[in-house]
């Protein structure tokens, strides 16, 4: 379904450890939402000097007031600080639901959900959907410190296991969450991984999963100016099913990508063999389609 732009009244803004959770009434978005999708919000009011919409994964939808959505953010800049200062009934310009959601497995399988910091928020509605479909769920949550691990209680409640790691050891094991990945994959007999984390963590998850030949669906957050596909900011190189690398938009082609198709090591660059890269020449005859190169880009 197509995204919509609504002016929705804020219901609540709550502090959740290091983050804020904002709930806004937006029935048209709540009913169409699928896990992995996001919203963008305009910040600073109608005369705002901040022109870029802020993008947030939808963390929760509820049926009250006809349909509400909740998103979680860290108030670490002028836009998010403005959001943190919203009061009940203030109107918010929200666009959504945007982007390609997490694909769901046809069979009930064993799914490992890995999240880091506020990136974890997108995984909770996914977990609910997977559970409804009868799959096994294991959670892994990581962050710098205990107050930045998002949703550890909910993870423990929903999942068969919840493994937590913090850089400073203030919650769970000490160290990066990826340090425990192999062990969890073995114990949980994981069939499929869903990951939502900053790029360096995603890169490592994909590399480790590659060793076990496990498919990964990765939610990539790239800075965007619009969220609707017009500004061309949130780009990354992605391999197409025809074997050609294109500079894709995280907002409309993602934010969820099949991890084996993302050229992780080349994110931020325009690889020389990407369609239309400098020096690239159009083929004289259309080349025969090549199969995607599997997880070879996992490194």
């Amino acid at each position: 379904m197509a995204p919509v732009q609504v002016s929705g009244p804020v219901l609540t803004v709550r502090r959740v450890d290091a983050y804020h959770a904002l709930t806004v009434v937006a029935p048209a978005i709540a009913t169409e939402f699928r896990p992995g999708q996001f919203v963008t919000v305009a910040v600073g009011g109608p005369e705002s000097s901040m022109l870029l919409r802020r993008a947030f994964s939808i963390h929760d939808v509820r049926p009250d007031h006809g349909g509400t959505i909740e998103f979680v953010f860290e108030a670490n800049g002028p836009g998010t600080q403005w959001l943190a200062g919203r009061r009940s009934r203030d109107l918010l310009d929200v666009v959504g639901p945007l982007g390609r959601p997490f694909p769901l497995p046809r069979e009930p399988v064993s799914c490992l959900l890995i999240g880091s910091g506020h990136h974890s928020t997108a995984l909770f509605p996914l977990a609910d959907r997977l559970r409804e479909r009868g799959g096994q769920i294991d959670f892994m949550l990581g962050a710098a410190s205990a107050d930045r691990v998002f949703g550890s209680l909910r993870a423990r409640r929903t999942a068969r296991s919840a493994t937590i790691a913090t850089d400073d050891g203030s919650l769970g094991a000490r160290g990066p969450i990826t340090g425990m990945l192999s062990q969890v994959i073995h114990e949980a007999r994981t069939d499929l991984i869903y990951a939502s984390a900053p790029l360096p963590v995603l890169r490592e998850v994909v590399a480790l999963a590659g060793r076990y030949d496990l498919p990964v669906q990765a939610l990539v957050e790239q800075p965007t100016a619009c969220g609707t596909g017009v500004c061309m900011s949130c780009v990354l190189p992605v391999l197409g099913s025809d074997g050609i690398t294109r500079i894709a938009r995280a907002c409309t082609d993602g934010p969820v990508f099949r991890a084996d198709l993302v050229r992780w090591d080349d994110v931020g660059t325009v690889p020389f063999d990407a369609l239309g890269a400098p020096g690239w020449k159009p083929p004289r005859v259309a080349p025969a389609p090549r199969a995607p190169r599997g997880s070879a880009h996992g490194g």
């Binding site: 732009q5 666009v95 100016a225 619009c226 609707t228 596909g229 900011s233 500079i247 159009p282």
Partner: protein
């Protein structure tokens, strides 16, 4: 009665003077989820080149006070895919398509113009002259009157006679009027102004330039006074030449400001990123602004600010 917003571009009548600005409306499909693209004046496409283009590395954009710094590098599908997919789609939706083109030599622009002339349904061709001239010293066409005129001349000669050719000018030149004169003398039917203003942002956390490409182009409300002055001076020097005013338009009132300075049509760019339904909203607001001033037709106020005394208003401004 509501003010009449109808405007003209060449022989084509537009339902309103509000257009998208080049490179800010995707293929049109993205916006069609929020507005009816057939109801705005026209969709100006991103600048199309002969071959597909991957664009610049990222980060490509940074927010500034009231503005946006960007360096996308004309990422695009190339003319073949554009004609097959994007132009066909715009026409199927009943939108008027102004196709922006870019090249590195006058010959490339002309080749693109030929391709567009062979395709049915192109309302106008806009020349993005803010591209390095590889045959010259690598400076942008837009910064050298002769180079800009050469592009206009080659395109005018190659394009079908009834397709208007619009030259899009850059603000960072010694004298925009000189470039405007050169382009109109070479056969440009209209002028667009302004393209982005060169700028730079340094990220104080990484202590490096915020954009991968270092510098970029500034756009958004922050540059509107620069656009107003460029339009004003050009209108003064070339009162007969239609101008598409672009730069920082956020509201119907902003659009009116550019029209009063001398624009016949108005392009909306960066603000679309902030509000995907901006073009439809600004169109509504412009109608209200005109109606509130008891103005019957938007064409009545083009360049009105140049008159020594403003005409007496029959109704107070709200």
């Amino acid at each position: 009665m509501a003010a009449d917003l109808r405007a003209r571009l060449g022989h084509v009548e537009l339902p309103s003077p509000i257009l998208t600005a080049a490179g800010c409306a995707g293929t049109g499909r993205e916006l069609a989820q929020y507005i009816d693209v057939a109801k705005i004046g026209a969709v100006v496409t991103k600048s199309i080149m002969l071959d597909p283009r991957a664009g610049r590395p990222s980060p490509r954009t940074a927010e500034t006070a009231g503005g946006l710094l960007s360096s996308v590098g004309l990422q695009g599908p190339g003319i073949d895919a554009f004609l097959q997919r994007d132009l066909a789609w715009l026409l199927s939706r009943g939108a008027r398509a102004v196709v922006s083109i870019a090249g590195s030599s006058p010959g490339e622009y002309a080749e693109l113009a030929v391709r567009l002339s062979d395709a049915a349904g192109v309302t106008a061709i806009e020349l993005n002259l803010s591209c390095p001239n590889v045959e010259g010293r690598g400076r942008d066409f837009a910064s050298e009157p002769d180079a800009a005129a050469q592009v206009v001349e080659s395109v005018r000669a190659a394009a079908r006679y009834d397709i208007p050719v619009i030259a899009k000018l850059a603000p960072d030149v010694a004298d925009i009027v000189t470039v405007a004169r050169a382009c109109t003398a070479a056969g440009a039917d209209a002028l667009s102004m302004i393209n982005t203003v060169p700028g730079m942002v340094i990220d104080t956390t990484t202590m490096r330039p915020a954009l991968a490409g270092g510098a970029g182009g500034l756009s958004g409300p922050a540059i509107r006074p620069i656009a107003v002055r460029s339009i004003w001076r050009t209108r003064q020097a070339l009162p007969e030449v239609p101008i598409i005013g672009i730069g920082g338009v956020r509201t119907g009132r902003d659009a009116l400001e550019l029209i009063l300075a001398g624009a016949t049509l108005v392009g909306v760019g960066t603000v679309i990123f902030h509000d995907p339904s901006a073009c439809a909203r600004i169109q509504r607001e412009l109608e209200d602004e005109l109606t509130a001033r008891n103005i019957d037709r938007v064409t009545d106020v083009t360049g009105l600010a140049h008159q020594p005394t403003a005409p007496a208003l029959r109704r107070p401004i709200p």
